[in-house]
């Protein structure tokens, strides 16, 4: 017993160090579900309050830019409504059941904290489960994709940004439909890498890259960016650098998109795996 106490007294600092470092590593390794850790959740509320205040100030200073962006988006939406209404009228429908047609549900939200300078970036938005946000919903900004919701509390959600080493997305070249896997390499917040495009495919600088909709998270055809350069990589594939359309430094107003038929698709796909 005495030798044990001696041992503890002699190495107490090492022991405290190991315990604290252990807590740190434990938090880190279970980190991807940090919104589930209760302590963090309660303190997060406090820091989110501060972040919201900072965000409000910044928003106020940027109101002019935001207004212009929203006006532009409005016009685009009006145009697409116009097209849709026309298309609808030209078809012969006796019963129009809108429920079965709508696959994606849009919710607009505001980003209250965001980062682009880490290797694993996340951003927080000001809507949560009460507003119908669930995990695995897609997040797009006005002009391109932004990320995927990974966790929700009642009034806030945390989304994994495209600028995250763990983020993977199925994307295709719009002109010819060949698809590959899009990820971020941690270097520049304006560039992402599209890989797995075979070398016989014609790729040009400036080609549009969009989502495929295979993942059941992102709708088909959402803009990602344009090809800024490409090189042969390994024997068979291209490594295509995509310049992203979304400016992650200015992420303010975003759209959260829920796929209403996701469970149906996933269940069906599960049957064949």
């Amino acid at each position: 017993m005495r030798s044990l106490l001696n041992f503890l007294a002699r190495y107490n600092n090492l022991i405290i160090f190991l315990i604290l470092e252990g807590i740190g590593i434990y938090l880190l390794t279970t980190g991807n579900s940090y919104h589930n850790t209760r302590i963090l959740k309660s303190v997060r509320n406090l820091t989110q309050g501060i972040e919201q205040k900072v965000r409000n100030t910044r928003n106020y200073l940027n109101l002019k830019d935001i207004n212009a962006a929203l006006a532009g988006e409005n016009i685009a939406l009006k145009n697409s409504i116009e097209r849709l209404v026309k298309g609808e009228n030209s078809l012969f429908f006796s019963v129009t059941d809108s429920i079965h047609k709508q696959q994606y549900l849009h919710t607009s939200a505001e980003v209250i904290s965001n980062s682009v300078n880490k290797q694993k970036n996340f951003f927080t938005v000001n809507k949560g489960t009460t507003q119908g946000i669930r995990t695995d919903m897609a997040v797009i900004s006005g002009n391109g994709i932004a990320g995927v919701v990974v966790g929700c509390s009642e009034n806030y959600s945390v989304a994994m940004s495209l600028l995250n080493l763990d983020f993977k997305l199925s994307a295709r070249i719009k002109s010819n439909g060949y698809f590959g896997s899009l990820s971020w390499d941690g270097r520049d917040y304006r560039l992402a890498i599209l890989s797995e495009i075979p070398q016989h495919v014609a790729v040009n600088v400036g080609d549009t890259i969009e989502t495929t909709g295979y993942s059941a998270i992102f709708p088909e055809g959402v803009l990602i960016g344009t090809v800024s350069e490409y090189e042969k990589y390994g024997g068979d594939f291209y490594k295509i650098t995509v310049s992203l359309n979304t400016d992650f430094r200015k992420l303010h107003f975003i759209d959260i998109i829920g796929n209403m038929k996701k469970t149906e698709q996933l269940q069906l796909e599960k049957l064949f795996q």
Binding site: I16, F17, E21, I23, G24, L27, I50, S115, N117, R187
Partner: protein, 168 residues
């Protein structure tokens, strides 16, 4: 005693706020992310008990974690830096040893000593932090470059603040 608690509380709040509001928003080409809040660990008195140093380091890291939404990353790094600090101080101790009841500062021990001290602690902290952030070995040398560039920035800032304090 109470005086110094208040003093370090104020330093702590200032450093955390400048980190969260200013330095977390700095980005040059994805390579430079200065983390200056580590200065708090640098400034604590030399004769502070090791357990208190560890707890304070852990607390600092934890608060940074809350603000950056990265549980465990900053706390692991700061605890390691706090653990390493006594050893670093022992290695670079001045010839006459440390004076009691003063904090390690440029005014007392000189520029060269303070530079080496800052360099070692910041490097230890940044190395742990950046490798934990990436958590993979594939980009080993790129991460190393990020560590070096970011450390240069953090150290420059810390030295500037220290010069300012010296000037006063």
């Amino acid at each position: 005693m109470i005086n110094s608690i208040l003093r370090f509380g104020l330093i702590f709040i200032l450093l955390i706020l400048s980190q969260v509001l200013l330095f977390n928003n700095i980005q040059f080409s994805g390579y430079i992310n200065p983390y200056v809040y580590v200065m708090f660990i640098l400034l604590l008195p030399v004769e502070i008990p090791a357990w208190l140093l560890l707890l304070l380091s852990f607390g600092t890291g934890l608060i940074m974690d809350f603000f950056s939404g990265s549980p465990g990353m900053h706390s692991s790094a700061t605890v390691f830096a706090g653990f390493a600090r006594p050893y670093i101080l022992r290695i670079i101790s001045p010839r006459d040893g440390y004076e009691p009841h003063v904090e390690p500062s440029m005014v007392i021990y000189g520029f060269r000593w303070f530079l080496i001290y800052t360099l070692l602690v910041v490097l230890v902290h940044h190395t742990i932090l950046f490798y934990l952030e990436v958590f993979r070995v594939t980009d080993f040398f790129r991460t190393l470059l990020r560590i070096i560039l970011s450390s240069v920035f953090s150290i420059t800032f810390i030295l500037l603040v220290e010069f300012y304090r010296k000037g006063k």
